[in-house]
């Protein structure tokens, strides 16, 4: 090193100081290598070039787009296009296959179920739950109880046309009367107790017996003599363990008095055909499909 000027040297360490002193404390100068400085400048140049090449500078509306024209949105669009192109033959097959025969083609079924799972999460989970377990008034799709039938064809029909909506003339439709309008409260209590007795052993036998004739007269037409229901009319099985609106006495009295009227949109009017088929296959595969 050349001794061109006098240096401030720290006596203890023998290291040159910067000459800066604060309350007698002097700053030692252990110089960084110069290439380090150059690499700092290189990163600055790189940073500026990057902001020119890629979207970076915020403007009043939007931001600079960058000379390379790169965007995440375009990336996603390209990804979607790639996948659509890749799945094109499967979609064609799905559209050409009868729903009931779908299980004969395991690869196609796997694709349909995977696709349907995505559709379900987006379109169906709001009412039926993300795990498809349903809520009060919205059927649980995991069990083996089906109001309108649990075959692939039945489910596809329900999805496509919906239930009791007024937008699709082919929607599944049925309506239970509100028996509170023409039956006495005591009579309703009797019918409710009879229905309760169909699936419970702790029912009041006398009360239930009083409801039985009324049931045969008013309810059996749809729900059947023994309460096993009728899928043609979406009339629930009253003798099983599954209750859409609750199976306790209070719920039963409420249902008989005021009736129920569950509605599902016609998804054929909202989804493309491939998605209708896919989501039907998904629902069928949840564990209760027939």
């Amino acid at each position: 090193m050349s001794d061109h000027t006098e240096k401030n040297v720290d006596e203890v360490t023998g290291v040159e100081t910067t000459g800066h002193s604060w309350d007698g404390i002097e700053e030692l100068n252990n110089p960084m290598p110069r290439w380090w400085l150059w690499s700092l400048y290189a990163t600055i140049v790189w940073g500026i070039a990057y902001t020119i090449a890629y979207p970076a500078w915020p403007l009043i509306s939007g931001a600079t787009t960058g000379v390379l024209g790169w965007s995440t949105r375009a990336d996603v669009a390209r990804d979607i296009e790639t996948h659509n192109a890749k799945n094109g033959p499967l979609v064609e097959q799905l559209l050409a296959t009868e729903m009931n025969r779908l299980p004969e083609n395991p690869d196609l079924l796997r694709y349909a179920v995977a696709r349907g799972g995505a559709v379900f999460k987006a379109q169906c989970s709001q009412c039926h739950g993300s795990g498809a377990a349903g809520f009060k008034g919205y059927p649980n799709l995991l069990d083996d109880d089906w109001l309108w039938g649990g075959s692939l064809d039945d489910i596809t029909y329900s999805v496509r046309h919906g239930i009791r909506n007024d937008t699709d003339d082919d929607a599944r439709f049925s309506q239970m009367p509100a028996f509170g309008e023409f039956m006495e409260k005591e009579q309703i209590r009797g019918v409710a107790e009879y229905v309760y007795s169909l699936s419970n052993s702790d029912a009041d036998a006398v009360l239930a017996a009083s409801g039985q004739p009324l049931f045969a007269e008013q309810c059996a037409a749809c729900h059947g003599e023994t309460g096993l229901g009728d899928r043609e009319q979406g009339a629930p099985n009253l003798a099983d363990a599954i209750w859409l609106y609750g199976g306790d006495r209070e719920s039963l009295i409420h249902t008989i008095t005021y009736s129920r009227f569950g509605i599902m949109p016609a998804w054929g009017q909202r989804l493309i055909e491939a998605d209708v088929r896919a989501v039907s296959a998904y629902v069928h595969g949840l564990g209760g499909g027939e």
Partner: protein
């Protein structure tokens, strides 16, 4: 205070021209270089037969297929703890060696040291030894200088490309990739990786060298915490060497004050790849490559003084040596609570990994209960729980796995998509996801208790090997 121009806060890189040296440590370093570089360049080419459906490369990090192959060991993603464990062992090993023997990793086996050593060898071969290189450095850029420089850089570049090239062979089938690379048919990532590693090898080994150790590597800053006065390290016996002075064949006793053994010949400085003077004491820059020991021993032999003026020694021996006593034996420095503790920890992890390695089965299952919802009531009042069972077939051929369930109660197992069967064909070397339904009848204890323990079994029908996992069955608590 006198007026001075402010000093520069940046310094130019001081060129280092390590002189050729020979001796036992230099020989050791050549051997280590041969072995480490040999392993690095040749390992991906070793073949290892694993059967028909598996790769036959002995060491393969198959990222796309999510398998690590190491000779007879195959690591699946869920066994990544083996890799973590090896990294922990590497860390503890580094602690152990540093606390016992100082920076032996830096001095002998660090890739930066090994490749720099190789590059210096090339440099010396092309441009000559230290004095010739200093002259060349000062010389004008004439034809002679250009010729030597370009030759050196070309050889460096070839080594750098081979280095980057060897790296990518660890990640895919080496012969196939080599063929694709030569046909310019390989994946761009392979070329990109080679380009980056070629550039870093060329720049770090050729030009940055000691700068990497001093300014980039965190290890020199951390190692001080691993070392103590009992650590064996490269040091200068200044009590023996000082006061230093030029060597004279015949010393007149009356002429001068007594001299130390150091004749200030600068041999230790001239051979140092870090460009430091070991006689200044312990320094962060010193990678303990021990070349100064070789250089000094050579000089001591020639002037008829005992070897070891610069030597591997423990600083705690200094008072004893100053007093003329013998230093403590080596093993008493190396065997101390700290190194024993590191050894114990290192061994503990090692034994654990070996145990885990031998406990592995060729067939495994993982059961994850689906908890949305926790249970499903079926129309006959029975309670169903749903589980995702992942079965791993580590064999190189497909196997039929049979599923079953056991529990204290009458639970039944059913496979999704199958009415009756309990068997699944799992392809070779694959994980197969099968959804299963476990059902408890209406009045079964499992159906009415909030929770009961069940166990799901998988049996390999070919060998009878069984694996199982316990899980919980959720009932409808009344």
């Amino acid at each position: 205070m006198t007026q001075t121009t402010p000093p520069s806060l940046y310094a130019a890189q001081e060129p280092v021209f390590p002189r050729k040296v020979s001796g036992k440590f230099r020989r050791l370093k050549w051997w280590i270089m041969l072995v480490t570089l040999g392993i690095y360049y040749l390992l991906p080419w070793i073949r290892w037969d694993r059967g028909p459906n598996l790769p036959d490369q002995a060491v393969l990090l198959d990222m796309a297929g999510r398998r690590f192959y190491f000779f007879w060991i195959e690591i699946w993603p869920h066994e990544f703890y083996f890799v973590a464990g090896l990294l922990v062992m590497a860390g503890l090993g580094l602690f152990l060696f540093t606390s016992a023997l100082g920076r032996v990793w830096c001095g002998y086996t660090c890739p930066q040291t090994v490749w720099t050593d190789l590059f210096i060898l090339v440099e010396r071969w092309v441009e000559g030894d230290r004095n010739a290189r200093v002259r060349l450095w000062k010389a004008k850029w004439d034809f002679h200088k250009w010729r030597l420089r370009l030759t050196k850089w070309a050889i460096w570049l070839a080594i750098a490309m081979a280095t980057g090239g060897a790296w990518v062979f660890y990640f895919t089938d080496a012969p196939t990739l080599a063929r694709d690379l030569l046909r310019f048919d390989a994946h761009p990532i392979a070329y990109g990786t080679i380009a980056v590693l070629t550039a870093t090898t060329f720049v770090f080994g050729g030009f940055l060298r000691e700068q990497v150790c001093i300014y980039m590597c965190p290890w020199p800053r951390i190692q001080a915490a691993m070392m103590d006065p009992d650590t064996i390290t490269v040091a200068y016996r200044d009590w023996r060497g000082e006061p230093r002075g030029k060597h004279r064949k015949a010393i007149q006793p009356a002429e001068t004050a007594p001299r130390g053994d150091c004749i200030d010949c600068m041999a230790c400085v001239n051979v140092c790849p870090m460009g430091i003077d070991i006689r200044d004491g312990q320094q962060m820059e010193c990678i303990t490559c021990a070349l100064c020991i070789d250089a000094c021993d050579d000089v001591m032999d020639r002037i008829g003084k005992p070897r070891g003026l610069i030597d591997y020694l423990a600083l705690s021996d200094e008072p004893a040596e100053r007093a003329g006593a013998a230093p403590k034996p080596l093993w008493r420095h190396v065997l101390r609570p700290r190194t024993l503790f590191y050894t114990a920890l290192w061994s503990l992890v090692g034994v654990g990994l070996i145990y885990a390695l031998f406990m592995r089965s060729d067939m495994e299952l993982a059961v994850s209960p689906l908890r949305n919802p926790t249970y499903v009531t079926l129309s006959d009042g029975s309670i169903r729980n749903i589980y995702d069972v992942r079965m791993r077939n580590k064999h190189s051929e497909a196997r039929v796995f049979q599923l079953s369930v056991t529990g204290d109660t009458g639970v039944q197992l059913q496979l999704e998509g199958q009415a009756e069967g309990r068997s699944i064909l799992v392809p070779a070397d694959r994980t197969y996801l099968q959804r299963v339904y476990v059902t408890a009848p209406r009045r079964d204890p499992a159906a009415t208790q909030a929770r009961s323990e069940i166990r799901i079994w998988v049996e390999d029908t070919a060998t009878g090997t069984r694996a199982s996992q316990e899980t919980t069955f959720n009932g409808k608590a009344e």
